[in-house]
């Protein structure tokens, strides 16, 4: 088990290294000169050249990358070109908001997804089941910025139930959490439904029924816990999905997380921030997958870690 974890962590580091090379190379190839961005339009050619030299941007790619990596290994993500602030400080300031949104979104998708999945499985092939599955299909397919703007318009602007974007109270959290959570809701409800149907067909369920246990008791004590297990393992993988959604959703709702930071940085070609957020998100995804793999054998003893 521990050998497995250590090996996986080692692999994760290699993956992160690969991601950093690729991202750094892509940003290196962007035909926009950061030195000119910093220098502004009134700068003379000497000023621009001077800034380029100070930032080491006049060096070849491998030297620039080696320098970045060297700093990274010391925990230094560099300074934002335009905000002139430590990238780590900017990310740290915004991390709590993103983590809060993540926790809330996972709560939403578990509650909604599992409930819908259970109901659909128990009413299998009924009109209710079919409409729930259509609903889950829609939530999986709908672009998050459309869902976000729609929710904002209906519940904040028209009904005035929630504030129009922003951050701070529980009310601010509801709409963005639902927007992100709905995507997972679709996946989880479909998985829960099929998982429930599988379990319902198992022998032990028939035995329970034969023992004369009540229907609710069978579902809650015997079926649901067994059906849920594969889904728990999914949450780790879900973090990756989450990271891809926050850029859009945080921008729509004015949620001050790292997704919004990334979006602003991309528009202004603020390379140190783009690198920093990409690496942090990659860490989340890699760790999420590792977590999923570690949970899997606990859920299903037939899976062995090697």
């Amino acid at each position: 088990m521990w050998a497995y974890v250590v090996r996986r962590l080692g692999e994760s580091l290699l993956i992160l290294l690969g991601i950093s090379v690729v991202t750094f190379a892509l940003l290196y190839l962007v035909p926009a000169d950061p030195a000119r961005q910093i220098a502004g339009r009134s700068a003379t050619a000497e000023t621009v050249a001077n800034i380029r030299a100070q930032l080491g941007l006049d060096q070849p790619f491998h030297i620039q990358y080696a320098r970045y990596l060297g700093n990274l290994l010391q925990g230094d993500l560099g300074r934002s070109y335009l905000q002139r602030t430590e990238v780590s400080e900017l990310i740290a300031a915004r991390m709590p908001a993103t983590l809060l949104l993540m926790a809330a979104a996972i709560t939403v998708e578990l509650i909604l997804g599992l409930t819908i999945g259970v109901i659909a499985a128990l009413r299998r092939n009924s009109a209710l089941d079919q409409s729930l599955m259509v609903f889950s299909f829609v939530t999986i397919s709908a672009p998050q910025f459309v869902v976000g703007i729609l929710l904002l318009y209906v519940f904040a602007v028209q009904l005035n139930w929630f504030p129009i974007g922003g951050y701070g109270t529980f009310a601010h959290l509801v709409l963005p959490a639902i927007t992100i959570g709905l995507l997972g809701t679709g996946w989880y409800s479909r998985m829960m439904r099929s998982s429930m149907i599988d379990v319902l067909a198992q022998d032990f369920v028939r035995t329970a029924r034969a023992k004369g246990l009540g229907r609710m008791r069978i579902i809650l004590r015997h079926v649901a816990p067994n059906a849920i297990l594969p889904i728990i393992a999914m949450i780790g993988i879900d973090i990756g999905l989450f990271m891809s959604g926050i850029v859009v959703v945080e921008s729509v709702f004015g949620w001050p997380g790292i997704g919004q930071l990334a979006w602003q940085a991309i528009q202004r070609v603020d390379i140190p921030i783009i690198m920093g957020v990409t690496l942090i998100s990659a860490c989340f995804i890699v760790l999420g997958n590792l977590l999923a793999d570690l949970i899997a054998p606990l859920v299903d003893p037939r899976i062995k870690l090697k």
Partner: protein
């Protein structure tokens, strides 16, 4: 001829006329407002900050030797109590106000003025504004890293500082009014180093009370402010991260007072026609011109007739309609509110027939194919499509290259990459209200270099010489002659037609009914976007 100048002589024009009423100056202090913005505030370091979001924030936290009358482009003295200019126009001596305190309680002196100018011109500071100080003696040594202090700036006594120039510079007092020459306290800059922009300390009307990264900033009233009666508000909260549409909704529901990013184009007609809000909408000019550049070194735009034909082919009224009339058509590089604007000049008429004839005369009876680069954010691609149709009507087939802003700027800075560029979203907005500011970087030879902003690569050495001569006219008595000289330069440029001037954008913003003050300070031409110091709260009147 050593004399004290009346600032009005130097005020080379006012955008809106002086704000007449004194009543807003007498408004009671107190109250608060909420201003919203989409993007993070990048930095509040006056040597670094150079975007239209932090521009007036910095002006409220810091002061310079000079400033402008609220809502106008009229220069006035700020931290300078007085100044004199030597006969040859090469030495400026400023007397400072006494008893002015930084937010940390220390008194501001002439040493701080010297330190601030040394700091902004020091290459290690990486100031985007360093180039503005090129006329101060010793600048070149600073820029080359050979000196750590400007030899032209001398502290005479704690309240007197003398600045010697290396060449006459009629714009020098404007330079002393831009953010980059704000006075900063050495000990605080040294304490925070690169993080001074997050911990700004100045002598301004407000001080930074709190900054929660990515969320909000709070400015509180500097109760020790030297300019008595200012600022009006006790507190300004800047809420960050709100899309302009969301910001507008919040204003309409009373949750915000000013949408800092203005009224979003998509909502413009709705808001300006809504009886409940149309009176809160404020329109103002700005020192902006939107233009199409034609690279004069790339065939066939090396032929002046082709450039003139394009000038006659573009339907500017339609371009203005595309942005819901939020602009006025332009026929010359300078915007109408800029001194030196030629009101009688008629420009090239919109005349596709004549344009086609001129194109044939130039040797292109069947037109030609070319490319137009454009910033990929709405409405710019739509405007470019309109130009594409105009050009097609005279036989020019222009392919639109719609790219991110930084990429268009990079393409324009290459000598042979972008034949045409529509400047929308990246167009020149003056740093200070002087005609020279529309020349050097975007139409002069200085800007026609790799990585420069002169995207038409137009370089006319005669005009460069004329521009230098005009900027050497420092005697205020020559102000009118200087303005005429500049007017002449821009009209000569139009003969060579490296640009199609398309329109001058107007700014539209809104304020809640809780706020008072003349309209002009909400669309201040210099304290962009809003002159926060003079806004007052109607709740406390």
């Amino acid at each position: 001829m050593k004399k004290t100048l009346a600032t009005s002589l130097l005020a080379l024009g006012t955008a809106f006329g002086p704000v007449q009423a004194q009543d807003f100056l007498d408004a009671k202090q107190g109250g608060a407002m909420i201003v919203t913005y989409k993007d993070d505030v990048s930095t509040l370091d006056p040597a670094i900050g150079y975007d239209w979001q932090n521009w007036s924030m910095i002006k409220s936290l810091f002061d310079g030797l000079m400033d402008y009358e609220p809502g106008t482009t009229e220069l006035k003295k700020d931290l300078a109590e007085d100044y004199t200019i030597s006969d040859d126009g090469m030495t400026y001596t400023f007397t400072l106000r006494q008893g002015v305190k930084f937010h940390n309680g220390r008194e501001m002196t002439a040493e701080d003025v010297k330190y601030s100018l040394d700091r902004v011109t020091n290459p290690a500071t990486q100031s985007p504004g360093a180039g503005f100080f090129g006329s101060i003696a010793g600048y070149d040594a600073m820029a080359a890293g050979e000196a750590d202090s400007l030899s032209g700036v001398t502290v005479i006594d704690p309240y007197t500082v003398e600045i010697r120039l290396s060449r006459p510079d009629a714009t020098f007092l404007h330079v002393m009014a831009i953010n980059f020459s704000s006075i900063v306290p050495k000990e605080v800059v040294e304490e925070f180093g690169e993080d001074f922009g997050k911990n700004p300390v100045g002598t301004g009307a407000f001080y930074l009370e709190n900054w929660t990264l990515g969320q909000s900033l709070t400015f509180a009233r500097n109760t020790e402010y030297w300019n008595e009666g200012l600022p009006k508000l006790d507190k300004i909260t800047f809420e960050i991260g709100l899309e302009p549409i969301v910001a507008l909704l919040r204003l309409q529901q009373g949750q915000a007072d000013i949408p800092g990013d203005g009224i979003p184009p998509a909502k413009f007609l709705e808001v300006t026609q809504d009886p409940a809000f149309k009176d809160l909408v404020i329109e103002g000019g700005q020192l902006h011109t939107g233009y199409i550049t034609m690279n004069v070194n790339m065939a066939p735009f090396d032929n002046v007739k082709v450039r003139q034909a394009v000038n006659m082919a573009i339907n500017k009224d339609r371009a203005v309609r595309i942005i819901n009339g939020r602009a006025v058509p332009a026929n010359q590089p300078l915007p109408p509110t800029m001194p030196g604007y030629a009101p009688d000049y008629e420009g090239y008429p919109y005349d596709p027939e004549a344009a086609r004839a001129l194109l044939a005369e130039a040797g292109f009876p069947d037109g030609f194919s070319t490319e137009m680069y454009v910033f990929n954010t709405d409405p710019n691609p739509r405007i470019a499509q309109s130009f594409q149709q105009d050009l097609a009507a005279i036989g020019i087939r222009a392919e639109i290259r719609s790219l991110a802003q930084a990429n268009v700027i990079a393409a324009g800075g290459e000598p042979d990459q972008a034949p045409m560029i529509w400047s929308g979203g990246m167009a020149w907005i003056a740093d200070f209200p002087d005609p020279s500011n529309f020349y050097g970087p975007i139409l002069g030879c200085d800007g026609a270099v790799q990585g420069g902003w002169n995207w038409s690569w137009y370089c006319n050495e005669d005009l460069d010489a004329a521009a230098n001569a005009a900027d050497a006219m420092t005697d205020p008595a020559e102000a009118e002659a200087r303005e005429a000289a500049w007017r002449d330069i821009y009209l000569k440029i139009m003969e060579d037609a490296p640009w199609v001037p398309v329109f001058n954008e107007q700014r539209f913003t809104m304020r809640s009914a809780r706020l008072g003050g003349p309209d002009a300070i909400f669309v201040d031409p210099v304290h962009v976007p809003v002159n926060y110091d003079f806004v007052y709260s109607t709740d406390v009147q």
